[in-house]
């Protein structure tokens, strides 16, 4: 991770670094291929198009009515004895959580994986306050040990090979050394048990907040969320306002589709609906806004708030599959990362992320919320001021394309240049940016126009 810098403005340089490590792309594409193949199999069991319409509709209803749903949710959860907090932004979220922890003199926290937690940097904030935080999802624990952020929404350590994982566990936590993933999982699980039993506070995210009943959906494959939410006497649920849905019944399509779409599982191993604090437990629900309410009303970016974080768009993205998540320099990566980072203004250079897209459309096909990801990425690309160098390049190409005469003359010159200076011709392409381990395009000796004319004469 050290080789990648945080911040969208480092995208180009990070991407170059990543692209020069083909092992990285090999590991990631192999892992995501598994998810893609399984996805295709299990999707045959349902009508994806119909489910997608339902999810799009229910998410649209919710995102267009966030203030109303929030009020209802708040009233319901408070009536049940939950403590409700609204956090306008990252700082507010951190402050609220740390206040709760300090009030209870918390020293240790067990946490389940949450992208919102990453967005507001809650682990770092707690650690700075002198509190020990243990990530309890296996993949997330591994990246925590390796001092790096997750590189994928649902598979945080997807960029690491099994060998690398074994080494990290052994070197950083003294677990192992093991070679088989199963051995590692068992050992970490045993080690985690003590952390669970001794923790002063649990911390979880939520996949959906149900306004009608004031309950929260939490999905996990490892069962750790149940321990995080039930063992410690103090629990903080850190979530965001876009997770609101209206009714309990809305969970059905989400539970049915998200795991199939994300990892190709029929259903997530553990689907927990937390509907009331257990006896003697104090539960704080912190709902973060971070620009979501405003974005939901935006005529262009509003649809992005429908995202249910399934990560299917990330799995199929050719750019992600080659450079991995860290190279983006942002919390959210892949197609949804490009769009959300822009929609929520999470990075001052968010616009630059739109370069990390071939507009191949693969993401749009799999998104269960029906978000037009390529369309939004193109919108981002075409808004704001392009960099001077890009404006210049576009001007040059624009001039040569401004009429058939110029077009022909320009390529005639290129052809001549190629004939006279073979090495210079290659260098010209490299200068234009046609870099990397590939040859350069060969301008044809004879244009189509010539062939057409010759053919006509031949008749």
């Amino acid at each position: 991770m050290a080789e990648f810098r945080r911040g969208a403005k480092n995208l180009r340089r990070n991407a170059k670094t990543a692209a020069r490590r083909p092992e990285l792309g090999a590991v990631i594409s192999r892992a995501t291929d598994h998810a893609i193949i399984r996805r295709r199999e299990v999707m045959q069991e349902i009508d994806f198009a119909a489910q997608r319409r339902r999810i799009q509709q229910l998410r649209q209803n919710a995102t267009q009515n966030l203030p109303g749903l929030l009020d209802r949710f708040k009233a319901r959860v408070e009536a049940k004895g939950f403590h409700f907090h609204m956090a306008v932004d990252t700082n507010a979220a951190r402050r609220i959580v740390i206040d709760v922890a300090k009030r209870h003199t918390v020293q240790t926290v067990v946490k389940s994986k949450s992208m919102l937690g990453e967005e507001v940097g809650i682990r770092e904030a707690l650690e700075q306050a002198g509190i020990q935080v243990t990530e309890t999802d296996l993949g997330e624990y591994i990246v925590q040990l390796n001092h790096e952020p997750p590189s994928h929404l649902t598979a945080p350590a997807v960029h690491l090979s099994t060998g690398e994982v074994g080494e990290i566990l052994y070197k950083q936590a003294g677990i192992g050394p093991f070679e088989k993933p199963e051995q590692m999982a068992v050992a970490v699980r045993q080690f985690m048990r003590t952390r669970f039993f001794n923790a002063d506070m649990g911390m979880a995210g939520a996949n959906a907040l149900i306004a009608e009943t004031g309950a929260m959906l939490m999905m996990s494959n490892e069962g750790n969320i149940r321990l995080v939410t039930s063992l410690p006497r103090l629990l903080v649920v850190l979530t965001s306002v876009d997770k609101l849905v209206e009714r309990m019944a809305d969970l059905a399509p989400l539970i049915r589709v998200i795991p199939k779409n994300a990892t190709g599982q029929r259903i997530t191993n553990y689907c927990t609906v937390l509907s009331a604090p257990r006896q003697g437990q104090e539960v704080h629900i912190v709902v973060v806004n971070n620009n979501r309410m405003a974005a939901a009303g935006d005529p262009v970016f509003g649809q992005a708030i429908r995202c249910v974080r399934c990560a299917a768009c990330i799995n199929v993205c050719p750019v992600f599959r080659t450079i991995g998540g860290h190279a983006y320099g942002t919390v959210y990566v892949g197609p949804m990362g490009i769009v959300l980072t822009n929609a929520l203004h999470l990075d001052p250079h968010a616009r630059m992320l739109s370069d990390a897209c071939t507009l191949c459309d693969a993401c749009a096909q799999v998104c269960p919320a029906g978000i037009d990801l390529p369309g939004l990425i193109l919108h981002i690309r075409s808004s704001g001021n392009p960099r001077l160098i890009d404006r210049f390049k576009a001007w040059v190409v624009g001039m040569t394309y401004a009429g058939a005469g110029r077009f022909k003359a320009a390529f005639w010159a290129l052809r001549l240049f190629k004939r006279l200076f073979a090495a210079g011709y290659r260098r010209l392409w490299r200068m234009l940016g046609w870099t990397g381990r590939r040859g350069v395009p060969r301008v044809a000796g004879k244009t189509f126009d010539r062939m057409w004319d010759d053919d006509a004469k031949g008749d």
Binding site: P318, D355, A394, R438
Partner: protein
Amino acid sequence: MEDINLFVPCLVRQFLPEVGMATVQLLRHFGYQVHFDPAQVCCGQVFINWGQLKRAKKMARAFLRTFEGPALVVGPSGSCVAAVREKYGLLDLEKAEFEQWQDLRHRLFDVLEFMQQKGLKVRGRLDARVAIHRSCHLLREIGLDVVESDLWAGIEGIRVVYPEHMAECCGFGGVFSVKMGEVAAGIGRRVVQRLVDLEPDVIVVPDAGCIMQVRSVLDAMHKDIRVLHPVQLMLQAING
């Protein structure tokens, strides 16, 4: 004989003229009278893809003028055709141009799509193992799956293979290929390796930009495998 106005995408015209000529010959084979107006330049996809919509609009205007009706317009590029059909809406066209566009949308076709719609079948023989790369825009925007289509049904001896797990982009991506050159090459290496692993005699790629990309990657891998557009392969099959 029905008239067809040929649309020759800029890359085909300058880098892959043989794809353009194969398109001409194939259309003639099916009995069409093919015309080519050398005043055409570019549909504007380059600039749309670049996010330079003002320049794209200029190109689009010229394109609409060149291909004013009523003749059918056919060209070998799913991505250019898709750009005209689907993306001109981003360009804020004036009323008259907008109407021209609406008219053109319905008589502009990618050559393979055109064959499908008209039920034009190639009959012939070709003894070869053919690995197919499914180009993104033809597959996902035009909706033509070159693998599943019956384009090959009348060709004896052909064995079609393809990477089954997914139709992954070759990494060309228009401006992406020069803006993020190293990543484009990295994607290309992975995706082309998959095609090479199928041990084909020929690799078939149905879009000009993708052909350029796949060829460049094969060059760097020192692999001497021919890369052809489907129309070239079909012509070979017809000529036996």
